[in-house]
Symmetry: C2
Subunit: 157 residues, 2 copies
């Protein structure tokens, strides 16, 4: 009877743990989405300041950015240099909008859209991206970042 009671308790505990887990997963998704939305605002604010170092700090130390017309850009220093180049080319705004965020423990995937503007406010590019985020030391950081334009291909020369 004691054995049976123990088993019963274990089953109830397991169900409770799984339910709590499921509820926590939902709550976690919302929390992760909020954290990533906040990071995207930091990203856009840093871009508006032309602050390549602040952008680099939003990435993991072993992050990879995968820009069009380029090989993979590996590590924070290289990513910072990439952004410096982008700002030197006249870009004054990179606005990000998450379309979806899915969290899986300490990793999350995001699909979103971007708008790039230059000094006079002209939109020079609109496109989409996928980011794999990692939570490192309690902070969500961009870990893999790839994007491409949604604008038509230019006519071939």
């Amino acid at each position: 009877m004691q054995q049976s009671s123990r088993r019963g308790w274990r089953v109830v505990s397991l169900v409770a743990a799984l339910s709590a887990g499921a509820a926590a997963a939902g709550a976690q998704d919302a929390a992760v989405r909020a954290a990533i939305d906040a990071n995207n605002k930091k990203f856009s604010a840093a871009a508006a300041r032309g602050d390549a170092a602040a952008l680099g700090a939003l990435y993991t130390t072993d992050a990879e950015a995968l820009p069009p017309n380029s090989d993979v850009v590996k590590g924070r220093a290289a990513i910072e240099a990439m952004f410096k180049g982008i700002f030197d080319s006249g870009v004054t705004a990179i606005d990000l909008t998450a379309a979806e965020v899915e969290a899986h423990g300490l990793v999350a995937s995001e699909v979103g859209t971007y708008v790039v503007k230059v000094t006079d406010g002209t939109v020079v590019d609109r496109g989409k991206y996928v980011v794999v985020w990692k939570k490192v030391g309690g902070q969500w950081l961009l870990h893999r970042d790839i994007w491409n334009t949604s604008q038509p291909a230019p006519p071939k020369p």
Copy 2:
């Protein structure tokens, strides 16, 4: 003493469980990597046959492909039509090579490179991609798929 012994047992059990979990995670990563490598071979084989339907079947029903110079392509039917258009343009090979695969339960992220060829074997594009995979009904399927070229931008017209 009995209490202390129980505590000791619990600590040992916890460490054993964590170690088993870590070992299982490593084994799972290798298994997922193998499954994704196998799927990439199926992908390339279907592309070599110009078989858009077989390619579509490698994606989740609610998959999204994010091609350059296009809006997001949503769902299997639209993805199949996208590949049909690619084959109609003369593409006869899309070869994929995974550079890394990270698994997180029923989701995995992959970074890789692609090579696209046309009828006479000419390479018309080389680039990179990020795929978010989902395991559905025991099968790993492409869920989010984005890529871009690594070739230099064409000169502006």
